[in-house]
Amino acid sequence: MSSLIEGLHRQLGLTDEEFERILGVLGREPGRAELAMFSLMWSEHCSYKSSKVHLRRLPSAGERVLQGPGENAGVVDLGDGVAAVFKIESHNHPSFVEPFQGAATGVGGIIRDILAMGARPAASLNSLRFGDPAEPLQRRLLEGVVAGVGHYGNCVGVATVGGEVVFDPCYAGNPLVNALTIGFMPADRLLSGRAEQPGDLAVLMGAKTGRDGIGGASVLASASFEEGDEAKRPNVQVGDPFQEKLLIEACLELGERRLLRGLQDLGAAGISCAVAEVAARAGMGMEVDLDAVPLREPSMEAWEVLVSESQERMLALVDPARLTDVLEVCRRWGILANVLGEMTSGGTLRVRFRGEVVAEVPAASLADDGPVYHRPMAAPSPPPAGPGAEVPLDADPAGAVLALAGDPTCASKRWVWEQYDRFVGHGTVAGPGSDAAVLRVPGTSHAVALATDGNGRHAALDPAAGAALAVAEAARNVACTGAQPVAVTNCLNFASPERPEVMGSFAAAVDGLAAACQALGLPVTGGNVSFYNESSGRPIHPTPIVGVLGLLADPATAVPSGFPRPGLDVWLLGETRVELGGSAWQRLTTARLEGRPPILDLAAEASLHRLLTGLAGRRLLAAAHDLSDGGLAVALVEATLAAGVGATVALPPGLPPLAALVSESASRVLVAVAPEASGDLSTLAAEAGVPATRLGATGGDRLVVPGLLDLPLSQLRDAYEGALPRALGEPA
């Protein structure tokens, strides 16, 4: 084996075997530009080479699914001729190297994925993971990531309406930044990143191409962190949301006026990936003229132009007869637009630069013929000890409630979401702090609900259960608003796939995800896999993040998560068992991670969701709030603080009082109903087979469990709202 420059392929992140495979595909040695293209397109990040064989097990079909995995984003039919486009993606490694730009460009990237389907990006949610926020490095990461997420979303006018933030030492050397965006569009204007016929032109729109983000997908996203990786900073892209805003408006106008054959965003691997994918999807080739690419630095070489991940660029596929109109729209919005290439029959991608052919490869070889690995798997090590019963249950209940309310992971994230514009777009019916975001669907009288969830502690103890619990929790959050869960997107964050135990836990998580989605009738319409989330050999917990989309017929009936007024009956739906493995209480009191995660009965979960949407449909629910981290204790704190309405409640019977407060048994929801509706609630719950216990009533300005605890809301508010600012060393 030889290589132009000895070992160049290794520097680019290709293995020797993969280099041999390229020799086989081409029947010759690749040129430098070709090698760069292969190295990016065959990277883990772009090719899913380690995860592909597993992801096939996820259910992706459903009657509402207009587009499943494989395109820029999934598409769901909302009825009335309107479609929702949504997807979640990670930008973990860039956000560690450069938190502000890494997070900002993560948001910008997922927004372009939505745009590429022809939809107006409407709202985003973010799932973030950091180490202890009291540590200076973690504080810097948190501040940078939140500022970056906010800056980009705010500037492009896409509301940030929800998500979650979790702190755990396992993310200290590898934070997670998963961004989900949803957009809406007329279903008949759906675009695809696919050319229609030879002769179609590929128009490169948007920002100039520079040397930023070169190798972002390969050396950054597809490798683990080691000491000294500050040197990877030039691999991080730099965002310009102003440019993206113009690009969004121009692309939407092009779509609205039906001037496009197709649209593709430029993300990982830049021009290489975009041209290879549009050509391969259509079974065509393309003549590419790199001299048409506006460059920031004229000294750039062909391979750099091909793989640069400069942001804010899109590739439009255009009928030549429409070219003048397309260029005029771009000019009006003040963005650059140049004809980069022309679709050809046959499958060859031929790239010219300064008078030379610098690459001539089958487009499909880049996009579809990459290596597929059945990586060795080892069973994840079984969780130590029993169900987590070693957790102390003799603590003072009032102290326990205050401790959980004041734990940064359980506590209010107001410090975070007050930096995000949640209003723009005139659609946010329920925003941050709600169980799920509720968004009005433009052009209809309907709404959607959206939630993201994931519990790495549960997944670390049992990856399959953890993934299934994440699906259940996100869907439950959606159902709490009264919406019917209909589709899933997911971001699977794992350590190196080259470790058999990581691969084993990944495969198990996919199985858990598939089983839960199947049982709850939720097709997976897209998502993202992020491997190599480890730093200096320390892996993160397996962290499957699940986003669930739900439909709500009438936004005016959206159920709030907090108690809205006094005089309501408070009920607990679902069964509480002593389940403390992986719980927040276990973490707070023992700093350990052991036992079993809560048992999930998927049939019971499905019944609960049906009950919730049924109750909401009959307008019986005044409030509904999911129980998750911190169990009933945290749910009661959040429900009472939301509108400052206290409650006096008994605890579910049959278990130690503290366990009833802090257990994290799945499939449970705290609801409030008018007293005259309690009879109906009880009957309907019994019919659905969902255990329902009346706990008490709302009222007053205290949270009271007679004989056990009596706390003024002001004290709870100080703990809950002040926790994160205090951890960050700021005045609450």
Binding site: A147, G150, H151, N154, C155, V156, G157, D240, P241, F242, Q243, K245, L246, R332, W333, G334, W417, E418, Q419, Y420, D421, R422, F423, V424, G425, H426, G427, T428, V429, R440, P555, A556
Partner: protein, 219 residues
């Protein structure tokens, strides 16, 4: 009544402002930054967002756009003009309103619902609000700290239109000033977003009074 809403490159709340005008019974008209023509509208809204990416300084580039020449003439002739957030910044840069808006005292972008009190009803955009009314309206900005050489004189002249209620000043604005007007009262600028406070489904409705004022004044 036709209310024009200007779209600058980087405007984000232009569509929402048009929707708010329509929901309040007005007739929204889209105006383009590159046109020097106001299309015969009866009032103009400069919306929120990040015109020209907030590059150089918020509003500093937008004030030179062709449409602003027309807006200045319209304002001189007594036409009602409302600048919301970035639009307020543009009006200050254009010299149509006094004072300036600097980086928030907390150095972070702030998005929250705040209470403001109506300090002056002698303006085209507050004439229908009872004096002293408290309105709940969202703010969302990174550079909304209002400064002026002599806020007392400004108040004495009746040019302070809105103040943040005690404890609600989100950005360190001088004398809690949230919005001001020109001496004639036809040009008003404020940092809170009335267009995001008109629909009870989406939250508080403190913004309705501003639109009602201009719509009833000129029917």
């Amino acid at each position: 009544m036709r209310i024009g809403v200007v779209t600058f490159p980087g405007s984000c709340d232009d569509r929402d402002a048009r929707a708010a005008v329509a929901s309040m019974g007005g007739d929204p008209v889209a105006l383009w930054h590159g046109d020097g023509d106001l299309r015969g509208v009866d009032a103009v809204v400069l919306p929120g967002g990040f015109s020209y990416g907030d590059y150089l300084r918020c509003g500093a580039i937008a004030r030179f756009s062709p449409v602003m020449g027309a807006v200045a003439g319209f304002a001189r002739d007594g036409g009602p003009v409302l600048g919301i957030c970035n639009g307020f910044q543009v009006l200050c840069e254009a010299g149509l309103l006094p004072g300036a808006l600097l980086r928030n005292a907390g150095l972070r972008f702030v998005c929250r619902e705040v209470e403001v009190t109506v300090e002056s009803t002698a303006s085209a955009w507050t004439s229908a609000c009872p004096p002293g009314t408290s309105l709940t309206i969202p703010v969302k900005h990174g550079e909304g700290r209002y400064v002026h050489d002599d806020p007392a004189a400004l108040a004495a002249a009746g040019q302070v239109v809105f103040r943040y209620a005690p404890g609600h000043n989100p950005n360190g604005s001088l004398a809690d000033i949230a919005g001001v007007r020109n001496p004639a009262g036809n040009v008003v600028g404020l940092m809170p977003h009335p267009e995001h406070a008109v629909d009870p489904l989406l939250g508080p409705t403190g913004g309705r009074g501003l639109f009602e004022s201009v719509l009833t004044a000129r029917v």
